[in-house]
Homo-oligomer: 323 residues x 4
Amino acid sequence: MSMPTNPSFDIAHLAHVEIYTDKFEESLDFFTRIYGLTLSGQDAQSAYLRAWDDYEYHSLKLTRHHTTGVGHIAYRAASPEALARRVAVIEASGYKVQGWVEGDLGHGRAFRFEDPFGHIFEIYWDTKRPDLNDATRPALKNNASKFHATGACPRRLDHVNLLSDDVAAFRQFMETCLGSRVTEMIALDNGRTGGCWFTINNKSYDLACTEEHGSGAGRLHHVTYATDQREDILRAADIFLENGVHIETGPHKHAIQGTFFLYVWEPAGNRVELANAGARLILAPDWEPVVWTETERKRGQAWGLKTIETFHTHGTPPTKKEP
Amino acid sequence: MSMPTNPSFDIAHLAHVEIYTDKFEESLDFFTRIYGLTLSGQDAQSAYLRAWDDYEYHSLKLTRHHTTGVGHIAYRAASPEALARRVAVIEASGYKVQGWVEGDLGHGRAFRFEDPFGHIFEIYWDTKRPDLNDATRPALKNNASKFHATGACPRRLDHVNLLSDDVAAFRQFMETCLGSRVTEMIALDNGRTGGCWFTINNKSYDLACTEEHGSGAGRLHHVTYATDQREDILRAADIFLENGVHIETGPHKHAIQGTFFLYVWEPAGNRVELANAGARLILAPDWEPVVWTETERKRGQAWGLKTIETFHTHGTPPTKKEP
Amino acid sequence: MSMPTNPSFDIAHLAHVEIYTDKFEESLDFFTRIYGLTLSGQDAQSAYLRAWDDYEYHSLKLTRHHTTGVGHIAYRAASPEALARRVAVIEASGYKVQGWVEGDLGHGRAFRFEDPFGHIFEIYWDTKRPDLNDATRPALKNNASKFHATGACPRRLDHVNLLSDDVAAFRQFMETCLGSRVTEMIALDNGRTGGCWFTINNKSYDLACTEEHGSGAGRLHHVTYATDQREDILRAADIFLENGVHIETGPHKHAIQGTFFLYVWEPAGNRVELANAGARLILAPDWEPVVWTETERKRGQAWGLKTIETFHTHGTPPTKKEP
Amino acid sequence: MSMPTNPSFDIAHLAHVEIYTDKFEESLDFFTRIYGLTLSGQDAQSAYLRAWDDYEYHSLKLTRHHTTGVGHIAYRAASPEALARRVAVIEASGYKVQGWVEGDLGHGRAFRFEDPFGHIFEIYWDTKRPDLNDATRPALKNNASKFHATGACPRRLDHVNLLSDDVAAFRQFMETCLGSRVTEMIALDNGRTGGCWFTINNKSYDLACTEEHGSGAGRLHHVTYATDQREDILRAADIFLENGVHIETGPHKHAIQGTFFLYVWEPAGNRVELANAGARLILAPDWEPVVWTETERKRGQAWGLKTIETFHTHGTPPTKKEP
């Protein structure tokens, strides 16, 4: 048995996601007051948000834009040397490279590149910790910030789900550029890959890509934060209900990855999830991807919930096809 | 900033712990019927047990012995090549080496070595999956075995806590031989290290070592399995209560590592924990060890529970000092 | 403001429900091993089951029959005198009276009567406590039996849901015969009552009746036990999944009554629910029924789940109309 | 067997508790921002607070005072006629009567009387509902107010615990004046009653009285609100920790009544509890009080926690004896 190529160990973790909103004030109010992230800082275009136990300055960059969707996806490297190794790999890969950018409020210089579907990725090493003050300093020094208990108050960024019209090609990109592993996937009857769940470390996944056709480039399906307990998600459902947030589906348990989930739409229309994986981790170094057939998928979610229609059609930015 | 030496990436995860019992039948009954592990197999000396989502044949080896305590601690390597690299490092380290053993029911050949306090470690690559049958095959193919719901029914092995009279020396051993990282530690006023929490991957810890004096070599403080939710631990407390199991302390939340915990003694006297870390992971590649002072420790656990006296005195095998 | 007529205070609580099964052995296995009730005793026709904290001999009587459905519904009176008062009221009411029966394994003589749709009710005072032995004696003397932790292991009987083609007439029956209060109800656009939720004490409901047409007499919609926590229901969903039990809908939260729910079908087809009301009680002596319009009902359950089609069509015994 | 005298059915439920504070602003900040009650209104001396699902204007009246402790304890009658019956009983009882008061912001005229230890009780019928506005109107019409998710955010008032130097005499008072039932009690080796837990309805208790000597009259041990889930209490523990609230003991499970609990001290020193009883109710009309011996009490709480020393000494107002 040969040594597994992945994970590469060069990339440490999914670090932040930038999402676009054409209703900036409403979105920011949702993410801070209802969803329960903390505002680390702001510049002219963007708000920088973090969950209470995210250790970096931000895990969500919310940016004013003429439409919705994902700006870029960032991973932090495992070391400066690992970053250099990865940059060399990506430059040699043939994928489209944007090159180095100077970073922003939350981190230093970053190397940007694109997947074949127009999603922008970046990797970086130099980071910034949030400035703590009397309102945000935690009682326990092993927490990144105070558990503020506002809104849903998830613990940390969990994953992002992108859309593309060729998931197999997207997989090739992820394995090549980041050294990610596929932990679970959907094999369609027509031979295509319906979806892939990737991880760069011991989380069961930090990025998923699912198939859609004809939408044009680079859409976002959703971004997800992790709660400590499933009860936090049940409680969040009541918070969303009381605040008039559109609950799309859930709470329920995914068959794929076994994650307990709840999906809502923030005011601008971006889908946002809360999820809890329990104590599940991918520890096996020789983990074989779990492959789900179309027949198995038709059984619905773990406890029988049928997947809601909008889950297959709604993404951001919206397409002309979506009502 | 230089690249962090650890984690080494050569070692994938804590794999199993062997514990000794001088009440084999009672201990086996406890671990299967009350604690909720599954019996994968047995030989003349030992029972091989796993939690329902442990992917290997066993995570706990329960062995007949004239006394209690820990037999050995096993980590699985990340690849055959990584195993070879680690063996070379250990052989060059000067620590006591036992060399290769043929393995047992649950895995292939393993390389054994010792810490300075007599605890036996092993690392290996070749492993065995549990044999599934109609009673143990999971409904969801991404689970290792069926969620059987018997007893406390934790999800997977979490960590082991050893005792030694020189934690700083033990730390040197762990960093050298396994490439473990220290995520949290206790710095005593006398300059000594009161305890160290180690991890080899993204778990916040998989092994802890705390200080004790005069006990002789190689004692065990406890072994721990992870539950999916804190509620599982509250429910387990009632199961232990109803079955006459000695609850030593908890449920409560540790200040160190923030883990929700419950400690009981299995029939032979080994301390066993159930723990839940919520969504906490160590994702930062440049995580600095959190250092707790003696003053901070005196505040008790996270919500104020004072540490119970036996927690400082009881280990296995028992010493002459313990009543 | 005048004194409310109801609750009557003559009736203490819903005591037990008899359900019919044409798959007795499979149903009994489901209710004991998977749903987690305890077998108190058996006679030729029936098994007498109780939840771990039900104080009476049985709360579920499972009876061999040529089909499925509900045998009878029993309430316990508040005292012998209260029983006598209620019997007089019922005899004077004009509703069909069956008169006194000798009781069975779980209680003494009982007075039987019928609603206009053929459901049989009984009220009684003399009861029997379960015989406790070493396997069922609780660790805490304020519990009725040991928390056995087998299967879903609900705490106590919660409520029963019947079907009738005239809910307003059923309401008249409940208010007259038992002195029940309506806590919530559905007012259809056509002026009819779509459903009524009744209570005889501080529980938010112990019996519900919902409308159906053309099924013939006396159908059962479901019987429900209460769990201590919502997490118990999430855990039970996995137990049902692993044991091949048909999960019809849930877990989710009802808009009406706010109960967290999960519905499954036991092997013979009777619908069985697990529910958790949190700390909700009806304490107001002048509680006004909450009236839900058809428009409000179309919004689905509390967090947006659409009511599954079979929820409107499946009852027991089955009708010819149901596929 | 004769009809049980109690509960009387004349009294519906514990309605509100008035507590005194000599740090009014700090106490009010604690109860609204951290404990999570809603301010219904204020007058010169008092703030009127309710939990989100309390149906009356207030369940806690927080009053400026030169010291701490309990002002009065209020129960709502089941009807105007029931109120009149109870007033007649109390007037005939020989207990000290204060007579009718005009009520306050939250209810109409009330009848006041005293226990032999100086605690003031009142009963009333005319009540007031809270004024709902856009910020407090619930999404679900069967809730009293919006689930606001601020602080610990308990659902409703649960119970109050008083201190007296003769619990048997206090029991006589409760049975006579309110018609309360004793559900559990402590029988001391010296023949005295160490504590009594009372209920007027199906709750397992709404008032407790425990023994203390030499403190003078009318002390308060604690007041308690109920959470929907045990997880709410674990979450609240972190909220208290982050806000510097003194956690006295818990979370743990009481042996008596089986309630999951957490005790903190509000800024002025009054002890406040959060509790969850799961699905436990007292349904049996012939419930026999559960009697705990001194030996049984020495085993500690349900899962073994030893009762903390201050629990036996700290009450409000403070005595000279307490440090």
